[in-house]
């Protein structure tokens, strides 16, 4: 069972890790010290990857609904600032021996929370793009994937029907 859950988590994990690690790869290409680039990339890729995994798993457990922005936005509103705090703290300690956050902890977290909205839009955009394809691949051998794929289809139909009903009510008035 855990393997099946882990399989479902791949799209979220992938997006999180890539978002964090792309920074490190490009830094190396730009000729910056490899150690520094690696720490910076790793300390962001790790928490974002874990949070991405968490998102996909929670979606698999029906706690999130496919394509709905508000819960994903709230999830990253809490998660993204913490991921950045982790990165700044570890990188600061490893490279400079101390941590300095612009605007203090509160200011730093408030700003990160604001930016997290943009990150959430991009994350959901990519996730909704990758997840159905991934589920289609898994559906033969993973019953949970089959259920989730059915939920995607059902959710799309439910939205459509709800809209139709609203329209019909409006028309009747």
């Amino acid at each position: 069972m855990p393997t099946r859950q882990a399989e479902l988590a791949l799209p979220g994990a992938l997006i999180g890790v890539v978002a964090g690690a792309v920074a490190g790869g490009l830094t190396l290409l730009a000729g910056q010290p490899a150690g520094w680039a690696a720490i910076s990339a790793l300390t962001l890729a790790l928490p974002l990857g874990l949070l991405g995994t968490g998102y996909s798993i929670l979606l698999g457990q029906n706690l999130f609904r496919p394509g709905v922005f508000a819960p994903a936005g709230l999830y990253w509103l809490a998660g993204f600032p913490l991921a950045r705090l982790f990165q700044e703290t570890v990188t600061g300690l490893a490279v400079f021996g101390h941590v300095s956050l612009p605007g203090g902890v509160a200011g730093f977290l408030a700003y990160q929370a604001m930016v997290s909205l943009g990150f959430a839009i991009g994350f959901l955009w990519l996730h909704e793009r990758l997840m159905p394809h991934w589920l289609m691949r898994l559906r033969e051998r993973n019953p949970r994937a089959r259920e989730l794929l059915a939920a995607y289809v059902e959710h799309a139909e439910a939205l459509w029907l709800a809209k139709e009903r609203r329209r019909a009510r409006k028309g009747a008035r």
């Binding site: 490190g24 490009l26 730009a30 520094w36 408030a110 909704e128 809209k163 028309g171």
Partner: protein, 501 residues
């Protein structure tokens, strides 16, 4: 303006009635009438990605990543109210472009030809003059050179050939491009958010956002010969510029939106033989049928969602992030401000990247240039496809004998034509176009935007059945657009003797 009557042989506001065996048609202008067909059902809004991805890919370019951050550094965040107006105007233009394309399955170029054929040929010529120069490749390829050391001309030529090969091999070009661009845009949004998170501060983002509501702010310095043309150019580049909105109608059609469902998609050259017969005109639905009108409202909701959330939202998000990044760069390294102000685009982008690298965020210099390269790639993919699509559409319908070739082969001919010309120019000529005509090209690009607002008013108010024509407030906004673009352009020309910068 009373435009309630369609011209010539048209039955005003009604589909010409069917008599016995005669097919029901809608007559618009002097061209072939459109047969009446059923409008398909609109998809639900869960379909969060649609043809708007092309407009976002084309629109999020140099305006958002460079021109507006530069103006903010020069005049302060308050100047961004002009950006807000520019992008909002473009969102309304997008909705109106979609109105004609979804109602008929025809491009806006065909609509222009229905009003007055020379109007369409004007856009055909402007597209060639403005878009065959491969200058738009240079910023992205130069950023890639900074990261990898590979000379930019090599990257640009390789990129051109790659684009040609990929689009020639694709079975249905639209599907391929939508998938590729979706992933690229998603990566761009996630990435710019990460970069902005690493370099910006609370103050940057609040000043950037509040600046958007400082309506009427225009410092004396902005009204000078040196800066007014730059501001006009930046407004024209807020969101999609030049003819990009017109090409969007072709993408809508190929995605099967509205009556576009009755028109076959353009195929890659290798699959041109499998192409279904392309009809010689679009179709209309029965606007007197309440069931059809209900579906039409569904399509309008679908495209409005795209316009507001995807187009407006993402364009705003990316530009706010890049402005925050530029403000951070200027704060970290004071010299950057001078370079950005001087107007040397590549020098400014490099200076911004260096500023991040030297200020301790070594990661960000490379990431920043990576995004500029990504934006360049998006623009190249989108522009080459769109240009070829538009020219092929006009040639297919209005050049004698072109129908024999078929739409897909015409598309391939224009695509490889512009690629071959681009490679020759990159190797032997001026990438942006001959310096003597640069001003004319910049003028034409902005002029086309004013001209398409006028075209939209004419097409939507004269060529569509009454029940689906735009409302008065929409006409007022589009009319304002025409006055805004043409007025600013002509004011710049006559008051300062300079076209857009």
């Amino acid at each position: 303006m009373d435009t309630s009557r369609t011209p010539a042989a048209a039955e005003p506001g009604e589909a010409a009635a069917a008599s016995g065996q005669e097919e029901k048609v809608w007559r618009a202008g002097g061209l072939e009438p459109m047969p009446i067909r059923t409008l398909p059902d609109a998809p639900p809004s869960i379909h969060i990605l649609g043809p708007t991805v092309f407009l976002v890919a084309l629109g999020v370019g140099m305006g958002e990543s460079y021109m507006w951050p530069r103006l903010v550094l020069l005049f302060g965040p308050e100047i961004r109210w002009l950006f807000l107006i520019g992008v909002t105007l473009q969102a309304v233009v997008m909705l109106e472009m979609a109105r004609y394309a979804m109602a008929t399955g025809e491009s806006i170029f065909f609509g222009a030809a229905r009003v007055f054929k020379p109007l369409m040929w004007f856009f055909f010529v402007v597209a060639i003059l403005v878009y065959i120069w491969p200058g738009h490749l240079s910023a992205g390829a130069a950023a890639f050179e900074q990261i990898t050391g590979i000379p930019w001309v090599i990257t640009a030529v390789a990129g051109l050939i790659l684009v040609g090969v990929v689009f020639s091999l694709a079975k249905v070009i639209y599907n391929l491009l939508e998938n590729v661009l979706s992933i690229l845009i998603g990566t761009l949004v996630v990435g710019t958010a990460v970069v902005a998170a690493m370099v910006g501060t609370w103050g940057d983002v609040t000043s950037t956002i509040t600046g958007m509501f400082a309506f009427g702010y225009l410092p004396q310095q902005a009204l000078s010969e040196a800066w007014f043309p730059v501001i006009v150019g930046s407004i024209a580049f807020a969101g999609p510029s030049g003819m990009q909105q017109m090409w969007y109608t072709l993408h809508l059609r190929d995605s099967g939106a509205g009556m576009g469902a009755h028109i076959p998609a353009v195929r890659g050259l290798r699959h041109a033989g499998e192409e279904e017969a392309m009809p010689s005109r679009g179709f209309m639905f029965d606007t007197s049928n309440p069931e059809e009108m209900r579906k039409w409202k569904g399509w309008r909701r679908w495209v409005t969602f795209d316009a507001l959330l995807l187009f407006w939202g993402i364009t705003m998000l990316v530009t706010v992030s890049f402005t925050v990044i530029a403000q951070a760069a200027a704060r970290n390294t004071p010299g950057v401000r001078t370079v950005i102000e001087s107007g040397e685009r590549e020098a400014a982008l490099n200076a911004m990247a260096d500023s991040f690298a030297s200020a301790g965020s070594s990661v960000l210099g490379g990431v920043f240039l990576g995004f500029i390269a990504l934006i360049g790639l998006n623009a190249t993919l989108g522009l080459f496809d769109s240009f070829s699509r538009g020219q092929a559409d006009m040639s297919f319908h209005f050049v004698r004998g072109a129908k024999k070739l078929g739409m897909s082969r015409l598309y391939a001919a224009f695509l490889w034509g512009v690629i071959a010309f681009g490679i020759l120019i990159l190797l032997f000529g001026p990438a942006d176009g001959p310096s003597g005509i640069l001003d004319t090209l910049a003028f034409l690009s902005t002029f086309a935007m004013g001209a398409y607002c006028v075209t939209l008013l004419l097409v939507n108010n004269r060529m569509l059945p009454k029940p689906i024509r735009p409302k008065i407030w929409t006409n007022l906004i589009i009319g304002f657009g025409a006055v805004f673009y043409l007025g600013m352009l002509l004011y710049s020309l006559f008051a300062f003797g300079v076209v857009v910068g």
